[in-house]
Symmetry: C2
Subunit: 239 residues, 2 copies
């Protein structure tokens, strides 16, 4: 059997970055990891941001939630400490914010190109571990896409067409809402087991085991028409 | 949410042809059909056939199972009557048999090209509804592949390389065995609900509903690190 894992994330979300790593730690130890398919789904923490708005994340957070900038910076240092524990680089200063809608569109394109994992890793690295600004800069985004192995012209075409994969992003967000997810990361294992947040690797390991271990439930009548190594059984014509 | 349906089939299997249609009848009526992903998996009814062996299916069946050829032909007429009930063309004479291994390899290639559904339909049509022989004839197989929308050169490359997708076929077969499937068609809905055989459309409808209706089961602690519309909560640093 195979297990599918759906992971709702936002590029703006530090705990998605950390949660991905913890999930991967569990996946690396999972005996049937080659039979696990991971699909990253879209979730915008702030879907109302205009595409051209960006700026310092600490100041933005301080303003948005009415906390001192120092506290927002302390938050960043707290997250950086957690990131360091799982071996992830995390810059505590200068991270920017902005709309992630185009990035999610590009992640859907990357899924079709089997490069989604690479693109998400590259986006997280660009956002959390590299000094250069990421948001509101199309050429920077294209650089990241190319680094992830996407064809530059294809990626440019996706970005140039605001409708490309836009519905796919919105469908993902509707599905997250329908599942009751109000924050990210949000993981669903085998369509059944939900893990909310950057939980310890052990939690992800348990969810993988649960999804894997589910026994099949037979549906329908027992004696239906099948073909097997001994031929096709046709009730009513052979006896 | 989305539901994945895995369907083990063989091109040699009349009930897979019928079962696919009955499943599609249920799928057409299913309100969330756009969120259902169908993946066709490999199952060879006779994995020991040499690639160049082929011949009349009625005579082959008669010989293999020690029944009169007339009875094998009567079987075919019985299946044709069932096929007619679901609007499928089915020739009762002249169907050939042979190894389906290369067809399964090509179906895996088609899956990557998003043409699997088209190729399987074209293979079934070629085998059950068209007079021309199908097995052991590479050019005929290429014709069918092109008709299904595959690039001819790509398809030829897959057929020319006996290793291409060979492991994928074998993995599918191992998984079917691990799931206890001894015949086909064999359907697994949402990794959980199994339907064996060409059951009535109502059975497939029920399996779709069951897979769709499964509620999420939360795993892990309640208060984990998440980011939401109101920011990222970092236990221990903000209070």
């Amino acid at each position: 059997m195979s297990v599918r894992v759906d992971v709702w994330t936002d590029i703006n979300c530090p705990f998605c970055y950390l949660g991905k790593r913890r999930f991967e730690q569990a996946l690396d130890e999972f005996p049937q990891r080659n039979d696990v398919t991971v699909v990253h789904r879209s979730f915008e923490l702030d879907p109302n941001l205009a595409p051209d708005v960006s700026g310092s994340v600490a100041e933005h957070i301080a303003e948005k939630y009415g906390i001192p900038v120092d506290q927002a910076r302390a938050n960043e240092r707290g997250i950086a400490a957690q990131a360091a524990e799982v071996g992830l680089a995390y810059l505590t200063d200068g991270r920017d914010f902005g709309s992630s809608f185009d990035m999610h569109r590009l992640l859907h394109h990357a899924l079709a190109e089997k490069k989604q994992e690479d693109l998400l890793d590259a986006l997280y690295a660009a956002n959390f571990a590299e000094n250069e600004a990421l948001f509101g800069d199309r050429e920077r985004l294209l650089d990241v896409a190319v680094r992830a192995g996407l064809d530059e012209d294809d990626a440019r075409r996706v970005l140039d067409d605001p409708d490309a994969f836009a519905d796919a992003v919105r469908r993902d967000e509707q599905e997250a809402a329908a599942l009751g997810a109000t924050g990210v990361p949000f993981f669903v294992f085998g369509g059944k087991y939900a893990v909310s947040g950057a939980q310890p690797a052990e939690t992800f390991a348990r969810a993988l085991q649960l999804a894997w271990g589910d026994q099949l439930v037979p549906v329908g009548v027992e004696a239906a028409d099948t073909c097997g190594p001994d031929g096709c059984e046709v009730p009513g014509t052979t006896d």
